[in-house]
């Protein structure tokens, strides 16, 4: 397998843009990434496009008016993991030698077709969806169990929102740029116990794109890319039997494969963009990704380790909690942040001397599955 590098990235700000269709957002991201890579658009040989809600052939609608047609375009729907799935396909196309330079794109408009005041839920052909389950409650049940098992408090969980807002206040691409206190987090309105509004990621619109190429191509271009050391995508196991919901098995499995592929461990990782859709999720991923022991998440965050200036900075762009979660776009936007950080271009939120970054995404409410799909990538410079 060949070495694979990211040589150009770009994204739109994340926020609520009901008047900008996903393809319009996608086009902006593609143009930015191609310009950032400083390549001729005609050199891009394929495009992998993550999107969840738009329906048929969204990638063609992104590329058609950019003069990037005729090439292989693959549309990718894999729930919250769609963006990282697109990246994984781009990685495979280069690593296998199929192509020399391709793009991974994620684009989504969620506000245009959806009323607020309803929680995201599993589909109505899913047994839990029919009987009223919603995504915040699925994570809420994990949180209740975790809190009972390890004595974590609502204040402990609120620290994740406080930290991620602190980070996003430094990020011009973030939807929320305000600081919040523990008290404000806990006083916001209840969504699904134990989560108040500020402990749930908001919906958002946005797009992100990355130009991915082989080492040979990168050297030809004279570019300095960010290396993809691990690219893993797995699906959830179907299981009706009782299990410990405080151990997200799909993430455990995907991250072990990623560490193995990169020949690294948690100790080597400077920053992590994880799937912090709810505050408890970041707690579970500190532990499952191997950054602290089971039940130690509260002390891990209180130690400052996960905060800008700490040893393993989590959600430095503000995470899903402050960026919002435009489903198909998130995985590629995590990639953009990792690349900016590793190139030292992350402005006020730069992690000094960052050399390695992990991005993690998991999601999709399918009853009987931990999550539908989970992606993990590791990048180095």
């Amino acid at each position: 397998m060949r070495e694979v590098y990211v040589v150009g990235v770009g994204m739109t700000p994340f926020g609520k843009f009901p008047d900008r269709p996903y393809y319009d957002l996608g086009k902006e991201a593609v143009v930015k990434a191609v310009k950032d890579a400083n390549v001729d658009k005609r050199e891009i040989q394929a495009g992998y496009v993550g999107n969840v809600k738009a329906g048929m052939a969204p990638g063609q609608k992104v590329f058609k008016t950019l003069g990037m047609t005729g090439m292989q375009i693959v549309n990718v729907e894999n729930a919250c993991s769609s963006g990282q799935t697109a990246l994984n396909l781009a990685y495979s196309a280069i690593a296998s030698g199929q192509y020399d330079m391709v793009m991974a794109v994620g684009c989504e408009n969620l506000t245009g077709g959806r009323t607020s005041g309803e929680a995201l839920a599993p589909d109505q052909d899913d047994i839990e969806g029919i009987l009223g389950n919603v995504m915040p409650a699925i994570y809420g049940m994990r949180a209740k169990k975790y809190m009972e098992q390890y004595g974590a408090t609502p204040e402990d969980l609120a620290l994740v929102a406080v930290k991620n807002h602190k980070h996003s206040s430094l990020n011009p691409y973030a939807q929320f740029r305000n600081l919040v206190t523990i008290e404000e987090v806990l006083a916001s309105r209840m969504v699904a116990e134990p989560f108040t509004l500020l402990q749930c990621c908001p919906i958002a619109d946005g797009a992100a794109a990355a130009v991915v190429c082989s080492k040979e191509k990168m050297l030809q271009l004279g570019a300095k890319g960010v290396k993809i050391d691990a690219s893993i995508l797995v699906s959830g196991l179907f299981k009706n039997q009782p299990s410990d919901l405080t151990v997200p098995e799909i993430t455990q499995r995907a991250s072990r494969l990623a560490y193995e592929m990169a020949g690294m461990g948690p100790v080597d990782i400077n920053m992590v963009e994880c799937h912090d859709a709810f505050t408890i999720a970041e707690f579970l991923y500190y532990e499952t990704l191997g950054f602290c022991e089971k039940g130690e998440a509260a002390s891990f965050i209180r130690s400052g380790a996960a905060e800008l200036g700490g040893k393993h900075v989590f959600s430095v762009r503000g995470g899903l909690l402050c960026m919002g979660h435009p489903l198909g776009a998130t995985g590629v936007a995590q990639t953009v942040e990792a690349v900016w950080q590793l190139r030292g271009q992350a402005g006020d939120r730069q992690i000094p001397g960052a050399k390695t970054a992990m991005i993690h995404i998991t999601g999709g409410g399918v009853s009987g599955m931990d999550n539908a799909a989970c992606g993990v990538h590791i990048f180095t410079v």
Partner: protein, 141 residues
């Protein structure tokens, strides 16, 4: 899923005969599991073959009560269900975990509590009339 309910009729839809039985003789309702005679695993809801062995599954009657593994009280939920409403996962002695709405006063909810299957209204129309009946869990008295 087969037998997907429609919600346009005047009578509440009963969801779903392959999962849940309410005896007409007044006996207590119960859930149905599907057991693999090769590996012994029990599945819910209905499957034709075991996902692991691909062996035909045998319908079994599940215990009427189990333990509440975890729960949440939903304040912003789905349309057609009056908020706040409680939901939870219940672990049955047959080693199967089942999600449902909880007909339990919220202040009485406790992880690990014993709960049992009952029939209840799981969805309302916009005038708050019942449109769907199915299984729920209540506290064991």
């Amino acid at each position: 899923m087969s037998g997907q309910p429609t919600i346009d009729t005047n009578e509440p839809v009963f969801f779903h005969p392959d999962l849940f039985v309410v005896p007409t003789n007044g006996e207590a309702p119960y859930l149905l599991g599907y057991k693999c005679e090769d590996c012994g695993k029990v599945w819910f809801p209905k499957l034709e073959i075991c996902p692991e062995c691909w062996t035909d599954l045998k319908q079994i009657t599940l215990s009427r009560s189990g333990k509440l593994y975890s729960y949440s009280i939903i304040h912003i939920g789905q349309r057609g269900i009056k908020s706040p409403y409680a939901v939870g996962y219940v672990d049955f002695p047959e080693e199967v975990r089942i999600y449902a709405q909880l007909a339990i006063p919220h202040e009485k909810l406790k992880l690990g509590m014993d709960v049992e299957v009952i029939e209840g209204v799981v969805r309302l129309d916009k005038n708050s009339n019942p449109v769907m009946l199915s299984y729920m869990f209540k506290a064991v008295e």
